[in-house]
């Protein structure tokens, strides 16, 4: 065999070896999309997360509330755990941890005062309770602290008072009643169902009523005064004072739920998009309830809410109807005028119609000066704000005295309920985002995951796990903060602009790029390999024939 042929064969084999052993892996590695490692197993584990929401309840027994031999058993702890039946992939369990103890001296003194409000003020001073926890005071069955027919009382600051019972099964009976009161003040199935309304598959249509605002890091609240007829009405409103006096305390009480910023504006010549109809019976104009949905859109473009901030915006509009259409009333479905003369739209805001007092027209000529009664207006706006946030009336146990909200308009345990709902909602959102990201990465093969995106994902997963732990140990405030961090990190990871780095290359375009590069190189190598293979096969067969 001539040496050139052997050298030729060896050269061809060497070329092929380099191309296949070195070249192919190099090409494969350098053209794959960069994906920093992600904790896929942990993300799929999040879906099966078991959320345990613990509500620590301290139950304080006064001297005559339960029989003596039961009192000897104090202090001890009872746990009541229940699974919330929601069709959601995460199992949610609600755990009330009741710590029973005897009343201290100053508590006995406070609970023997005349009225329950005085008792509360005396009890509230020593300690501020942490978010999510409750205290229930059990007084004697015939105590005059509560009115005769009332069995329990729910106060504005995470405290409740309940009548004891002199019975063998005192602790069991009182325990059940305490659970009822505690559920009204913290967590019920309704609260969680409303929080998870966007994640539950069924009932897309009926849950429109309970559509609180989506959880967000902050909110922008805009108060607008609409004056369509400045020639007749010279409207003044002391919005700064009203915000300072009424709105700011409410928002300060809500400050744990997000950053709030408030602004206001006055719009002239802004009409409603709907023409009101005249009702001759009351000689007033009215807006029927079916025309209300068409009111908002024409006026929204003038509000400038898109320029305000990236946070969700809540608009509260005060409309002073023009002289030709005064007085203007809003009618409900049955045709009766609404007492508040206001309506709201979930996740958008509220509109109130303010009718000018007809006496103002008598003496003076146009334009008439109108001083808006901010108390009446703010009562409606704050009520709408509560509804938009999903702070609704709780389901009270029977025979329960309910003290209304204090001057701020918000009870502290209502804030707790909001924080519970928001934490669960945040965890659900974060888990969904992370799971969708993992699924997307599986489906679409050319999404790039850079290192900082991967670190955001790790942070989000850690935050979800931390939030679940904090919820299980009853620290509501830190759980809420962790859940917000989880949502922020997961959204930042999912919506990072770098994920869109590579546009799609269809297969035929890929071939069009690679063929001019690889084909001229590959064809000679392949052909020579084939030739070598055929020749070696011939040379194997030859010795047999000779033998």
């Amino acid at each position: 065999v001539p040496p050139e042929v052997v050298r030729g064969k060896r050269a061809a084999l060497f070329f092929a070896a380099v191309a296949i052993v070195l070249g192919l892996p190099l090409w494969w590695k350098t053209t794959e999309t960069y994906r920093a490692p992600l904790p896929y197993s942990q993300i799929s584990g999040l879906n099966a997360l078991q959320l345990r929401l613990m509500v620590p309840v301290t139950v304080v027994f006064t001297r005559d509330s339960v029989p003596l031999d039961d009192q000897e058993k104090l202090p001890f702890t009872v746990v009541h755990e229940r699974e919330i039946p929601l069709k959601y992939k995460m199992k949610i369990k609600c755990r009330f941890q009741k710590a029973y103890r005897r009343a201290l001296d100053h508590e006995e003194e406070a609970l023997s005062l005349g009225s329950v409000q005085e008792a509360e003020t005396m009890l509230a001073e020593p300690q501020e309770q942490s978010e999510g926890s409750l205290t229930v005071y059990v007084i004697s069955e015939h105590s005059p602290l509560l009115p005769q027919d009332m069995m329990s009382y729910i106060g504005p600051k995470r405290t409740a008072v309940m009548r004891g019972i002199m019975h063998r099964e005192a602790f069991n009976i009182i325990g059940r009643r305490i659970i009822q009161v505690a559920q009204a003040m913290s967590l019920t199935e309704d609260v969680l169902a409303a929080a998870l309304a966007d994640h539950l598959p069924e009932d897309k249509w009926s849950s429109d009523k309970r559509r609180p605002l989506k959880s967000s890091l902050g909110y922008e609240i805009t108060f607008s005064l609409l004056n369509p007829d400045p020639k007749s009405h010279d409207v003044h409103w002391d919005i700064e004072g009203a915000v300072q006096r009424y709105v700011q305390p409410f928002l300060n009480a809500l400050s744990a739920a997000g950053n709030f910023s408030v602004d206001s504006q006055i719009l002239y010549y802004a009409m409603l998009g709907v023409n009101p109809r005249f009702d001759p019976a009351s000689s007033s104009y009215y807006l029927a309830s079916h025309s209300l949905p068409h009111v908002i859109n024409p006026v929204e473009s003038r509000l400038g809410s898109s320029a305000a901030s990236l946070y969700p915006v809540l608009n509260f509009l005060l409309y002073v109807p023009e002289l030709a259409h005064s007085p203007l009333y809003i009618q409900d479905k049955d045709g009766a005028p609404v007492a508040t003369n206001a309506f709201h739209s979930p996740r958008w805001g509220g509109i109130m119609v303010y009718n000018v007092d007809p006496k103002a027209y008598n003496a003076s000529k146009l334009p008439v000066r109108v001083e808006v009664d901010m108390v009446r207006v703010m009562e409606v706006f704050l009520a709408q704000l509560r509804l938009l946030f999903g702070i609704a009336q709780p389901q009270l146990p029977p025979k329960c005295l309910f003290s209304g909200p204090k001057s701020e308009g918000l009870m502290t345990w209502e804030l707790d309920r909001l924080l519970w709902a928001r934490s669960v909602e945040n965890l659900a959102t974060a888990t969904t985002t992370l799971t969708s990201l993992a699924q997307l990465l599986g489906k679409i093969s050319n999404i790039v995951i850079k290192d900082d995106v991967a670190s955001e994902v790790y942070r989000a997963v850690a935050a979800v796990q931390k939030a679940a732990e904090e919820l299980a140990s009853g620290h509501l405030a830190s759980a809420f903060v962790a859940s917000q961090e989880a949502v922020t990190s997961s959204e930042r990871a999912f919506f990072d602009p770098s994920l869109l780095h590579l546009l799609y290359f269809p297969d035929d375009q890929k071939f069009a790029i690679y063929i001019p590069l690889f084909l001229p190189m590959a064809v000679p190598i392949l052909l020579s390999l084939v030739k070598i293979f055929l020749e070696t096969r011939k040379s194997w067969k030859k010795p047999e024939k000779i033998d």
Partner: protein, 392 residues
């Protein structure tokens, strides 16, 4: 006998009445449930309207997009919920004989530009990348709110695209293309993040049906102006402006939409019948297999209009006009004012210093110069008397 038969007849009649009333009761309940099932379940509407071609002779694409924009605004979607992308400015084009107008009907009947148009992405900002970023929400931080698609899982989104296209692609700005696979992947990314409740995709280009062939995400309905292999044709030229004003398909869609008002009950099946082959020359196509509801139950206003859910406010909370707090806060303001020292302004332009500094530098420069001269030029002869230097 007669009494018996009468009684039995009365009983049967009563039974029949009872059965009827029960039936109607059950019927109304079933009807309620059925109505709920057929309703859409969306709470807000968004629209993304894209015109992808530039140059004066593509006037009709801008007119197409603006006429859909006009209809959508008229039916109630506010500007804050519309992302309008126009790749070229026809209204202010130097070749426009009627500046600040874009007409859709010949003889300049209808100016679709209007005076409150809000273009979010204009001119060279309309690129495939920006379009995909808008759809998937992966915009760079600092993008203003009007340029974002802030939809959520209860938003119905209308996406309208027009321009020059081919089999499987749509041309952007004469320099790049978006393929149908990219579009399908973008919609899948939107679905994974639940950025839409239902999506209506309308495309008016040549071979438009190829663009919706590859969709695979649920709840998408698509309409196109022509099938694969067919060209979409333009409608009529206007002799005064000198270009074709509209495309046929969008022209007839616009005529159809002009008859819709926010309360109308027209459904999607009527939209599918718009522009038959006799008028359009091309065959419009549609795709509804990914859509869950029956098209005859889908109202046009579900996508083109925007109706908000509204509730009457029945509760108020009671507030006391709390004057006490007001007074104390006034006092706080006064105290703050007293404590503040009177302000002084820093000198804005210290002229004297500037002149002094320039003189100073000139003197040192002169001194240095003379020292240099003396030491280097005169060499080792020793220092001579430095020449008197006067600041000039």
């Amino acid at each position: 006998m007669a009494a018996n038969s009468f009684r039995s007849r009365a009983l049967t009649a009563l039974a029949g009445l009872l059965a009827l009333s029960f039936g109607s009761l059950a019927d109304s309940r079933i009807e309620d449930q059925a109505e709920q099932f057929f309703r859409s379940g969306h709470t807000n509407n968004w629209a993304v309207l894209v015109c992808t071609s530039r140059f004066w002779f593509n006037y009709r694409h801008v007119a197409n997009t603006l006429s859909v924009y006009r209809s959508v605004k008229r039916l109630g979607i506010p500007d804050s919920h519309i992302v309008l992308m126009l790749a070229d400015d026809m209204a202010c084009n130097a070749r426009n004989p009627k500046p600040a107008t874009v007409f859709s009907h010949k003889n300049m009947e209808l100016n679709v530009y209007g005076d409150d148009v809000e273009v979010d992405y204009r001119s060279y900002e309309v690129t495939v990348e920006n379009f995909l970023r808008v759809l998937t929400g992966r915009v760079p931080p600092g993008t203003p709110r009007s340029k974002r698609l802030l939809s959520d899982d209860r938003s119905n989104i209308l996406i309208y695209m027009t321009g020059h296209g081919g089999n499987g692609f749509l041309k952007f700005q004469d320099s790049e293309e978006i393929t149908n696979i990219e579009l399908a992947d973008a919609f899948e990314q939107m679905w994974q993040k639940r950025r839409y409740n239902e999506l209506l995709f309308i495309i008016d280009t040549c071979q438009g049906a190829s663009m919706y062939e590859r969709f695979y995400s649920p709840n998408i309905m698509a309409l196109a102006s022509s099938q694969v292999g067919e060209d979409s044709l333009s409608h009529q030229p206007d002799p005064a402006i000198g270009v074709h004003l509209m495309d046929r398909y969008t022209f007839y869609v616009l005529e159809f939409l002009e008859e819709i008002n926010p309360a109308s009950q027209t459904n999607m099946n009527d939209l599918f019948q718009v522009c038959p082959k006799s008028l359009c020359v091309s065959t419009p196509g549609h795709r509804t297999d990914l859509f869950q509801r029956d098209p005859k139950n889908v109202l046009i206003t579900d996508f083109f209009g925007s109706v908000r859910k509204v509730e009457i406010t029945t509760e108020t909370i009671s507030l006391q006009p709390d004057l006490g707090i007001m007074e104390s806060s006034n006092k706080e303001d006064q105290i703050d004012e007293e404590r503040m020292e009177p302000l002084k302004y820093a000198e804005q332009l210290p002229v004297a210093q500037i002149i002094h500094q320039s003189l100073f530098w000139k003197e040192t420069a002169a001194h240095l110069g003379s020292w240099w001269n003396n030491t280097c030029v005169s060499g080792a002869h020793g220092a001579q008397e430095p020449a008197a230097v006067h600041p000039s």
